[in-house]
Symmetry: C2
Subunit: 139 residues, 2 copies
DNA sequence: CCTTGACCTGGAGCGCACTCCAGGTCCCAT
DNA sequence: ATGGGACCTGGAGTGCGCTCCAGGTCAAGG
């Protein structure tokens, strides 16, 4: 249990945990998705628990194609404190709407592609039947 | 009925129909997604019914994030004739698998985002309740 | 004859999200 | 003290998918 309550995480640990490269992690920081991260005396970054939590959400939103710029706006709201919760909510709800639409679109196209696959399968089946027929005639 | 059987369509018509720009249409042709399209004596493009059909599928596959390079491969198979149907089938099936996975991922993230929205809504509700309570005390 | 509008060409440019690199520091183990 | 590994910096480069542009042609209408 205590292992899970560590105060700090190294860049390598974070990169592995979120399947990001160190470069991407630094890029996110530069882009303002993360606050200026803490440092060890060596100068190496040390991520805190709340960085991890925010990264979790960031990952989730990026995976659903929220652009970096929008993500930065959201991260700024988080940094500005609890009074921005209504605005954060608005961002998330708007994103969810987009996502719902996108999923609906993908499902729709999925159907069309399936249909095309079935069509091709039908062509192949017919072709196979014809070949069988020919063989029957010949033999 | 006869209107729908026209032999040729102008670039403008096609662009509108598929919600693509003329630039994109030309880009697709250069990229090998479409064969070298027919021309009017003036040099203007004239799209045939089978261009339209292929574009339909291309649009569907692009909308589901098939990369241009893969689309070009597919288009080449189409140009190579009916004997490539098994390979086309493979491309489509592999793409459908990717798409299924992608949809599953999005739905998963959708749930996480919804959860976060609910969390924020909870915070706001609690805050509203506290305010009401304070007012009650004061009044 | 002149304008307008649709389209043509080749090639440059753009926005996004990384990704890579050179050259450096720090710390630990052999 | 030497080597290796993890990490640092600023800045350049990459890949993708368009998107824009200059300068032109062509056909129809006034």
């Amino acid at each position: 249990m205590l292992e899970h309550m560590r105060d700090y995480y190294t860049p390598g640990e974070i990169a592995e945990r979120f399947d990001l490269t160190l470069d991407t992690l630094r890029y996110y920081e530069k882009a303002g998705l993360l606050r200026r991260v803490d440092r060890a005396p060596s100068g190496h970054r040390r991520y805190r628990t709340d960085d991890v939590e925010l990264l979790h959400l960031i990952r989730c939103l990026r995976d659903t194609d929220m652009p970096i710029a929008r993500l930065r706006e959201f991260a700024e709201l988080v940094r500005d404190g609890d009074h921005t919760i209504p605005e954060r909510l608005e961002v998330l709800q708007e994103h969810k709407n987009r996502l719902d639409d996108r999923i609906a679109e993908l499902v729709d196209r999925q159907g069309a592609i399936e249909h095309k696959i079935d069509y091709y399968l039908g062509v192949l089946a017919e072709r196979a039947a014809e070949t069988a027929h020919t063989l029957k005639d010949v033999n």
